[in-house]
Symmetry: C2
Subunit: 130 residues, 2 copies
DNA sequence: CACTAAGTACGAAAGTTTTCGTTGACATTA
DNA sequence: TAATGTCAACGAAAACTTTCGTACTTAGTG
């Protein structure tokens, strides 16, 4: 049986994935401490349980060779980002990427620098597509 | 007491909001039928219950003057879209609108026409901001 | 009036997500 | 070796989401 598609990660799962993407493969303790640095702190076993569930769901891969298991995100950050964007596109934007981009720019006042980067991206995108 | 901020709508709630945005103020039956046209059908009382909860949460406003209550989205579609995008930006894109736009374009192959529209938006945005 | 149709309210079940306590295994060290 | 600390596993509680059955109300109709 091939690995089933990874489901959309929940909020708490995404928080864990962010740590794994930023720091690479991690133990549960690594992740728990990283999260607790930025937040009111969540218990160790909470994070452990979530990561076990994520392994079952196929969101992360677990290396059990060491006593402290090491977890790694199974999909690249960009891949998950595309998944989340595509999902939101369908659920809230009627599939219109244009509208989504428009709201993205007004949701977070983009800097001039960002706008330039986006313009460059558009150029590249157009070249690659046509 | 001022109305508390509307929380992020859940998946099922967003589906209802989509109907209200598209058709304007609606009764529960209107919404239930609209949803059932596009889906395996969900029960009437399910939709009713959801809309009652949404009224409590402040996602919709309810007009009870008629026997069949009439519901209306409390926030404009664009406002909710911004909320969802802003939320996703924080949770999955480290706040980088640029990265989000990039993934949006590659998640859904944007057409040349869309790219043009986006460019125009960027121009307008830049003028308005600087 | 009795009956039916269409509506709201309510509560509870089922599913999912998030939380953490407890247990037992294993390692480190006094 | 005994005590202490770290870990995975498990189960269950708590919170939230989605579903629908049932009861009650009101309006229309024979």
């Amino acid at each position: 049986m091939p690995k089933r598609d990874a489901p959309r990660p929940t909020d708490a799962e995404l928080e864990i994935l962010n740590v794994l993407w930023q720091r690479g493969a991690c133990t549960v303790r690594d992740v728990q401490q990283a999260i607790s640095r930025a937040k009111p702190a969540v218990g160790y076993t909470t994070v452990l349980k979530l990561m076990q569930i994520m392994a079952e769901k196929g969101l992360v891969e677990r290396d059990e060779t060491e006593r402290a298991h090491v977890y790694e995100a199974r999909l690249a950050r960009e891949q998950t980002q595309r998944q989340l964007i595509g999902d939101l596109l369908e659920r809230a934007f009627e599939g219109s990427a244009t509208k989504l981009v428009m709201q993205a720019l007004s949701a977070k006042k983009a800097s001039a620098e960002e706008l330039t980067t986006i313009r460059e991206m558009l150029d590249e995108f157009e070249r690659g597509e046509s």
